[in-house]
């Protein structure tokens, strides 16, 4: 009997689903072991019956439910709850589902300001800015999945590496819990650490890091944080490099921004990073702003609108 799988995408970009397709030929092996009963990107199964004849949402029962994306609107919340009721195991796929992800940067603003700006740009006509059903109402905040439903397995990553997806899915198909990395990106980074030296300020990423020749291997290049660039490696969960281990942004000689979310599921990357910098004598005021440090983990109410200071 193949394992039945239902898959949904909520406040997402489809990058997680494309990462699944990036399994390459391993995808064909996975498809032989599972039977998809619902996955809108690939399969024409509809919510309300195939000709829209039912009056209630109806996703088939499945052994495994995979959900990418966080929860931004009423439809997302309804689908997430329904998936939970129909699936034995729920996997939160990708950092939007596990921590809110990039779209949770919206939590830095009240939802009214979001709507106001999007429908009053310089090219937008002066139309009414109200929306009718079936367009779903936005919720006040953008949430991670586990703020609405119980989640059994969290697979962070923006997107999760295909190697990791393959390992995790293979384990789940055998009824085992997947073995996921628990270390930080720094623990898998090949660059050279010599100590921070006299570093007291960070630079913005406006020039490429220093290394001696275009073909110099990464394990000869000095750590980007020690070179004075903000790198979120110390506070970010490892795994982005897949089986090759080397973090993907570092492979392009670019600093980490934290796309795998915090090392501990309930960590706060902004506070952890600022603490790490301050305790090493680095002036955090040399950073241009702080909310970007929460760009992948703004769910769980970690990122909130900045209230204007009251006049005293």
């Amino acid at each position: 009997m193949p394992v039945t799988v239902a898959s949904e995408w909520l406040n997402s970009c489809s990058g997680c689903e494309i990462s699944l397709v990036d399994l390459g030929e391993r995808l064909l092996d996975v498809l032989n072991l599972v039977e998809f009963v619902h996955i809108p990107v690939l399969l024409d199964h509809k919510y309300f019956g195939q000709t829209g004849e039912k009056d209630h949402l109806d996703i088939p029962e499945a052994d495994v439910g995979i959900i990418s994306g966080g929860i931004r609107n009423e439809e997302h919340a309804e689908i997430a709850a329904h998936m939970r009721s129909r699936c034995k195991v729920i996997i939160a796929l990708g950092t939007c589902a596990t921590h809110g992800g990039i779209p949770a940067l919206a939590n830095g603003f009240p939802v009214s300001e979001l709507l106001e700006r999007c429908f009053s740009t310089e090219t937008t006509d002066d139309n009414p800015r109200t929306f009718d059903p079936p367009v779903p109402r936005l919720l006040e905040v953008c949430s991670a999945l586990d703020e609405h439903i119980a989640v059994d397995v969290s697979l962070p990553g923006c997107p999760p590496h295909p190697d990791q997806l393959f390992t995790a899915l293979s384990a789940l198909l055998q009824g085992k819990a997947p073995d996921l990395p628990t270390k930080s990106v720094c623990d898998t980074c090949p660059t050279v650490r010599e100590g921070k030296g006299k570093l007291t300020k960070l630079r913005r990423f406006l020039q490429n890091p220093h290394y001696h020749s275009p073909d110099e291997p990464l394990d000869k290049m000095r750590c980007l944080l020690e070179q004075g660039f903000l790198c979120m490696g110390p506070v970010t969960r490892a795994g982005c490099g897949g089986d090759a281990k080397t973090p993907r942004c570092i492979a392009a000689r670019v600093p980490c921004r934290g796309c795998y979310g915090p090392v501990r599921h309930d960590g706060n990357p902004m506070l952890d990073m600022l603490n790490a910098l301050a305790s090493n004598g680095i002036d955090v005021k040399s950073l241009p702003e702080f909310p970007s440090l929460l760009r992948f983990a703004g769910g769980h109410r970690l990122l909130r609108p900045i209230r204007p200071r009251k006049e005293s």
């Binding site: 990058g15 397709v21 030929e25 000709t51 829209g52 830095g108 929306f131 367009v135 392009a252």
Partner: protein, 449 residues
């Protein structure tokens, strides 16, 4: 009795949408529309962020075309900060974007669209999909999966991340290309060109012929078109002037810095996605199918309609054959699929041209840059249409204002027209079944939204 048919969600597309079809008392279609259900608010929430960080934030707008957002954004930030990337960096950016196009078109054709033709529009939904294709044609499926994956892994191996890229940086590119990279990628792109030619031939001889009548009738509407061309009027996916064509084939060109004088965005209460239209035509906006106003289309068919020619030989020969058969501008909606495969050939040929230039290995890939106040508009042709990012920055180089016109949105209004046309032509006396409703969805799928 009048009733409402709701196809929810539209499947085998990227994103969240549904179709509502309103039937009158006789069971004929009174109206039909496409609902776009999601809004994330990038235009607002990048405010206050350092501009140089934004190209690695806005790529999350789309996991299928993250390179397009990444590079349009990089171009906009370059302009805000007043920097011109060195030639090798521009070549690397263009190469990555071109290979991303090549990969994207294979993904759409085989994984999302082909099942409607290869398995058939009326087949049961359980087999009318890529998994059904894999079971019915295992050899083809294996080849498709391998070739698409190879294209994608070129991006991953050279640029670190293929999905949500980070290698484009303000002022240039994050790393130079080594001679051994160049030779390896060149060999792979030559193989991919062979596969692109095979795919087009396969489509022309096996996939499209049984459906030529459907192709010339389903979802057909008459609109204008938009796309980017170079200084000779040839198709260009990465850079150039934007050409806006009227339904009669006459056209104007503009510098994308002036896009706001040309394009307006209309809002309807049934769609979070705005509907761009040709403000410059001074005829307003209307979705009246008998007399649409301001409506133009983007994406593959639009680009090959507005371009006078294609600068690479194989794709040019295909364009000539296409024009011989369907004219210019070709209006039939399902021809988007055919045009997509011609662009696939172009993307492979052009990537090879870029890789045959030894200058792409010049180690100088990033210009010096300082944050400053400015304004910049950056654009590229995304698979789904002309993509425009427009930012302003303050003295510290933080974003103060952003306006985005995303490729897919150009086609939201036309999709509404095509769906209305398709529904009206195939639903009569209240009779609907899965096959008929799937045909209505096919009118959306052609646009690859």
């Amino acid at each position: 009795m009048s009733r409402l048919i709701h196809i929810q969600p539209i499947t085998r597309i990227e994103g969240h949408a549904s179709i509502q079809i309103q039937l009158d008392d006789a069971g004929d279609v009174r109206d039909a529309r496409v609902n776009i259900m999601s809004l994330r608010g990038f235009e607002k929430f990048i405010e206050g962020k350092p501009a140089e960080e934004v190209p690695r934030i806005v790529n999350r707008i789309c996991g299928i075309c993250p390179w397009m957002h990444h590079l349009a954004s990089n171009k906009a930030v370059d302009r805000c900060f007043g920097v011109t990337p060195p030639p090798a960096a521009q070549k690397l950016r263009e190469l990555m974007q071109t290979i991303a196009h090549a990969e994207d078109k294979l993904l759409h054709f085989f994984f999302l669209a082909a099942a409607d033709f290869v398995i058939g529009p009326d087949a049961d939904y359980s087999v009318r999909n890529v998994i059904g294709i894999a079971k019915a044609h295992p050899d083809l499926a294996q080849k498709v999966v391998r070739m698409r994956h190879r294209a994608k892994m070129i991006l991953e191996r050279f640029a670190g991340k293929a999905i949500h890229p980070i290698a484009g940086v303000v002022g240039g590119f994050s790393k130079p290309m080594l001679e051994e990279d160049r030779r390896e990628i060149l060999a792979q792109m030559r193989e991919l060109l062979d596969f692109a030619l095979f795919t087009l031939e396969f489509a022309k001889t096996k996939v499209f012929p049984p459906y030529l009548e459907t192709i010339q009738s389903l979802g057909v509407i008459r609109t204008g078109f938009i796309g980017t061309v170079d200084e000779t009027g040839a198709l260009n996916l990465y850079d150039g002037r934007v050409r806006l064509m009227k339904p009669d084939g006459s056209f104007m060109e503009f510098d994308v810095q002036d896009y706001a004088d040309v394009i307006g965005e209309h809002v309807e209460p049934y769609s979070y996605a705005k509907m761009p239209y040709a403000k410059v035509w001074n005829e307003g906006f209307s979705l009246d199918e008998a007399n649409p106003r301001g409506i133009y289309r983007a994406n593959t068919l639009a680009r090959i309609n507005v371009a006078d020619r294609i600068a690479t030989p194989r794709a040019q020969a295909e364009l000539e054959e296409f024009r011989e058969k369907f004219g210019r501008p070709a209006q039939a909606t399902l021809l988007y699929h055919w045009a997509r495969l011609i662009e696939e050939v172009y993307a492979c040929e052009h990537a090879i041209e870029l890789l045959e230039d030894p200058g792409i290995c010049d180690p100088h890939v990033r210009a010096e840059v300082e944050p400053r106040a400015g304004r910049g508009v950056g654009s590229v042709e995304a698979p789904r249409g002309t993509l425009i990012h427009d930012y302003s920055t303050d003295d510290n180089g933080l974003i103060t204002r952003a306006n985005l016109i995303v490729g897919t949105t150009h086609n939201i209004a036309p999709m509404n027209l095509s769906v209305k046309q398709a529904a009206k032509s195939i639903i009569h006396k209240g009779v609907v079944d899965q096959g008929l409703l799937n045909r209505v969805e096919m009118a959306v799928r052609a646009y690859d939204p």
